[in-house]
Symmetry: C2
Subunit: 437 residues, 2 copies
């Protein structure tokens, strides 16, 4: 099975655990069989591998998510990097051309496309395999998966099939309706459109060249930023005549808000949390290193990270976005391919961060024009290079870097560094990168 997972943008509806650097698919809140916490992306990847150990899995995503995906999924996963966000049609085309040219997926092979972030169980992945097999048979150009509705939702588009068979031709598509209209659709046997498609590679390549002027993957990649933003539904699905839908009636939840996210949590809380008396339907996720005590609450979600603290009624949490838009958007925590960093103190004229470099990793060789930096190594061993001078460092060593000095640090074992930045202007943009000779 060739599967292209669409990994979407940041989204503020799961603030403070999603930010510009981290999307909801990376939040570790699902306890797996080994008792470890895993994120949606780890969960979905592992489940696909379980159903189909030979599946060729590729994630289509923005550059800013690449580190986090490599950290979570390792080097076996393919990554189709989008140079910009251009909606699902360009993303799927780029991903498929990547699969075809870079990963040598043949024109007659089927490809399944689905979002990376629904909350599902193993039957969903078996259904994806069925979908792939249906596409392989070629009875229709496009095969969709349609979810049996559990209530007349206003959040989804609807697919109206011709009949109630497990696989049926599609009669038509309907935009997100109001509740009453949704009830009418459901009475006619309509299904939720979950954005899950399967087709043969030849089909998508043909559509791609019809709608986009490009020669090969590199050409498409270079033009990507200027492509028109358009969804795959709008560009392809709704115009296709030869189209069928496969019914799916297993668990499928869109984890777009804290309300639905906490429904999927296997534990009441994650992190340093004390549940006091008389809590009912309360979920707490604490990524801070101070305890949270929750008492006497009902239908409440608490989420705390270095970016902030949310305390919300679960239903009300759907309306979070405008309030988050107004907050200071400085990213206080980020995971990177080389480790992570966390802002621990901010002052006028200085900022203190804690940097963790994984063993074998290093920072870029870089300099800052407007700030000095002082590194205190608090654990691990490694080497620093400052203006070409190399030095072995271990816990307790202090390295002073004046503004303008080129510098890097290379972790031999895992390294933890307290970095004090000092300067009138401290900005992430004040950074020049250099090659190490």
């Amino acid at each position: 099975m060739n599967i292209l997972l669409l990994s979407g943008g940041s989204g503020k509806r799961l603030w403070p655990l999603s930010n510009e650097q981290r999307s909801k698919q990376f939040i570790r809140i699902f306890k797996n069989e080994n008792g470890d916490y895993e994120s949606m992306v780890e969960r979905i990847y592992g489940s696909i591998r379980k159903v189909d150990p030979d599946a060729r899995i590729t994630v289509a995503t923005a550059k800013s998510q690449v580190s986090e995906i490599r950290n979570r999924l390792g080097n076996d996963v393919g990554i189709s990097v989008e140079p910009a966000r251009r909606d699902t049609f360009p993303a799927i085309v780029l991903g498929c051309v990547f699969l075809h040219e870079v990963q040598s997926v043949g024109e007659d092979e089927p490809v399944v496309v689905c979002p990376v972030d629904p909350y599902v169980e193993d039957d969903y992945f078996r259904a994806l395999k069925d979908l792939s097999d249906l596409a392989s048979k070629g009875e229709a150009n496009l095969t969709l998966m349609g979810m049996e509705p559990t209530y007349p939702s206003e959040k989804y588009g609807y697919i109206i099939p011709e009949n109630a068979d497990s696989v049926s031709r599609v009669n038509c598509f309907k935009e997100k309706p109001d509740e009453k209209t949704a009830e009418e659709y459901i009475a006619k046997g309509a299904l939720w459109n979950g954005g899950i498609f399967a087709f043969k590679m030849s089909y998508i390549l043909k559509k791609a060249h019809e709608l986009i002027d490009f020669t090969d993957y590199d050409d498409l990649y270079s033009k990507y930023e200027n492509l028109t933003k358009i969804s795959f539904d709008y560009a392809v699905v709704e115009k296709e005549e030869s189209i069928q839908v496969m019914r799916f009636n297993g668990l499928w939840k869109d984890l777009g808000t804290w309300n639905t996210m906490t429904e999927a949590m296997t534990e009441e809380y994650v992190g340093d949390v004390s549940m006091g008396s008389n809590n009912s339907n309360v979920h707490v996720i604490n990524e801070l290193n101070v305890p949270i005590l929750a008492m006497g609450l009902k239908d409440v979600v608490i989420a705390a990270s270095p970016d902030g603290i949310l305390v919300s009624d679960k239903h009300e949490s759907s309306y979070i976005k405008p309030y988050v838009d107004k907050l200071d958007s400085r990213v206080m925590f980020a995971e990177k391919s080389w480790g992570n960093y966390r802002v621990i103190d901010v002052n006028p004229g200085s900022m203190t961060i804690k940097v963790t470099l994984k063993a074998g990793n290093k920072m870029n060789y870089h300099s800052h024009e407007l700030r000095d930096e002082i590194w205190t190594i608090v654990s691990g061993t490694g080497r620093t290079i400052v203006d070409g001078m190399e030095q072995v460092v271990h816990a307790g060593d202090v390295i002073t870097i004046q503004a303008g000095c080129k510098h890097t640090i290379i972790a031999e074992t895992e390294l933890q560094v307290i970095e004090v930045q000092l300067g009138k202007e401290i900005s992430v943009d004040d950074k020049r990168k250099f090659e190490l000779n």
Copy 2:
């Protein structure tokens, strides 16, 4: 007016804003006329000064609170330092002997004793002055203030007066009753016992020498730790025949729980807080430097400090103590006479703190046996002394202190220092103090 304010212990019922270093009376949540936030102790001190500019105000308190009281109230306030906690009779005796011997309050002068932490308005302080005048007249050995009950509370002891006059002889005292009994007391004209007493100095000195074997203040101070723990009510009030009570029917709230504390707050929130949609009777106090967003909550208090985060139904917050007892009790933030410190990162083998020294202040000259320390000055100017070597320091300077080195830092302007502590065992007890030559 001579007034002795009893400043009680730490108390966990207002966690995470009160800890071993800081009691509820120091939490700054009341906005004053200038728009600044002030604490209970500042509020009560300012109000007494307003009613009686010449009042001689003395606070009876533990050693651990002395710094904070000096910070908040300055040098005009008298402080009777208790070498240990021995309940209210020893505390009042020590305070009065301090007033008599150290502050030269005469034997014929009245003294008013009251707790530092009720939430009251100006009429309360005028009533204290009336109480002092009544004591001065000498019509009874003891004059109490009794609060007109607003409901049949089970939290207070009751005073049964002989009649309903504004000042009446006391018939008897009743222990904290159940609600039904409280109703019966109130029907008989009973008053709440708020622990507010006035008497002449000669009276308390006589009682003191009757019950405690001591010669003078220094002798009493040296014996203090071995005195029997006993309340003033039990040792004196309940045994006294010549006793009267003055009725008080103004605002008087015991701010012992988050529920009552938030009732007294003048604003919905203090600190970096966003109030989202549909909150009702929600109060937020945020001492962290990340934003809190509250949405769709009802009757909830949120309090966040470097010690932890409480999210509780207001009523339920009364039952907080056993849960706080179970939490790690490391103090992450403390205010001192010289400034404050805050723990910003904890690792096995290292701890990073931020120290702020007020201009003109210095640390003790001290050393640690088991840890190195690295100071990075992030703002201000001052001097460091390390093993006798003095050095001028300013923002950007780094000072390395090996285990065993004596060291101090003296702030010329306000100084902020990031201190990284490194060692196998990092403990507040690992500290030796020295004299600076």
